[in-house]
Symmetry: C2
Subunit: 278 residues, 2 copies
Amino acid sequence: MIKPGASLLLAHRIKDRPILLIGGGAVASSRLYFLLESDAHITIVSPKLDPTISARLETHAHQITWIKRKYIGVEEEQAKGEIELTKYHMVMTAIDDNPLSKSICLECRAKGVLVNIADVPPLCDFYFAAQFRRGPLQVMLSTGGMGPRIGALVRDRVEKVLPDNLEDAINGVGELRKDLRKRAPGVGGALGQKRMDWMKSISETWSLEQLEGLNEAEVRSKVLDKGWEKEKVVKPREVGLRGRCPLRDVPQEWVLPSGILLGATLGSLVTAFLLRRR
Amino acid sequence: MIKPGASLLLAHRIKDRPILLIGGGAVASSRLYFLLESDAHITIVSPKLDPTISARLETHAHQITWIKRKYIGVEEEQAKGEIELTKYHMVMTAIDDNPLSKSICLECRAKGVLVNIADVPPLCDFYFAAQFRRGPLQVMLSTGGMGPRIGALVRDRVEKVLPDNLEDAINGVGELRKDLRKRAPGVGGALGQKRMDWMKSISETWSLEQLEGLNEAEVRSKVLDKGWEKEKVVKPREVGLRGRCPLRDVPQEWVLPSGILLGATLGSLVTAFLLRRR
């Protein structure tokens, strides 16, 4: 069933790509943060800079170009020739000049350049949404403009319930994939498919706690010997990892009843023992 | 602290935007699904179609154009003039012809068109990542190429732990925002800021369970009367909503100890009572 009205969620790889950021305030600073983490090259156009942006200019000089003046206007800039919108992979503005923002948006759209005008949803080809990053994992939570705050609220909830060892599990799987590529090199075709299917079988049958064990080279080597080489799904026990820890995998709704039962048993035994002794 | 190596996560609004999808197999079908949910207009180029794509062609005829032939090659297509890459907002390929895929990617990059070549990360400006949608909430989980399967694994975990009433809470906040806009209309400036701050104060101090109550028009009206009009953060109790249900908000790590304590108390009382009676 297709439910319309969604956003298209995409993870962009923008290492060394030129991004134009017009504005130098708090919103521009937030944009800059995400762009720097993504290894982009950012050109900032603003007569003044927020202190956090100034600080980044020091620490990330090679990634930022600062054009220390106001962005005058689409036609004026074209005449001047210093800032050409079409040269950029994406254009983002965070300024308090609505007519100027709109003209930048229209020009970008006419030229096919992706554009985001902060705080004006109809002028945005894309939105930034609530997000967090934990090691190699990045999570974005979008409410499609229903409210950025509730996105952040849900983010905080989700972040709290994610298992602590998630990062290690993801890294473990990544290491196993690398080792597998060394053992069975080559791109695409039947081998690529076989590698993918085998990796999938591991990710699907092992728990996160067990995947964490893959960070040890010795374990990975055993998994490849006993699993990949013999074309089978190897079980964690077979490579010397403890079995699935049952307590960690108990569904949340069973935790309270189990606790009460355990407590009741212990409590009555202890009470019975104490009362009998007297 | 800037940690490099991230992807830039973006939520694209692509209603009615033209997207070119080259290929007609299972991967193309998955792309089509997300593009249809985002209300895009998709041009599919493929001599044959996966049955699910054929079915969508029936149900979503107005959103799909099918060019029933092979994409020949970048130069050949330019000569032919039927498919012009630069006319599209994004180009995605899911075909088994690596040299052709690469030439499409290079042409798109030269012309500044966003491109995704399925299964060939270096030729992708963006990735699709594990994701799920629950009502107005869309969540994407990206592992930055560390392994699509583990992204899916984490997605399943996250989906399981999200509160059931999340959708209703998000809708409730959305409804309150709409009512507030009616009561205090106008765009931007000091009023816009005040509206945003007040909405933020509600989202931050109410629990998800309480926000769910905002789906009732009467509750919303009271919240606006007692909160917005008096420039204060209204508490759920003040508008006739039950207070925060303490059990629901207990941190997960306290549930088991609380259960054991409760069980032990009950168990020893009952045991003591029974033994005394004898």
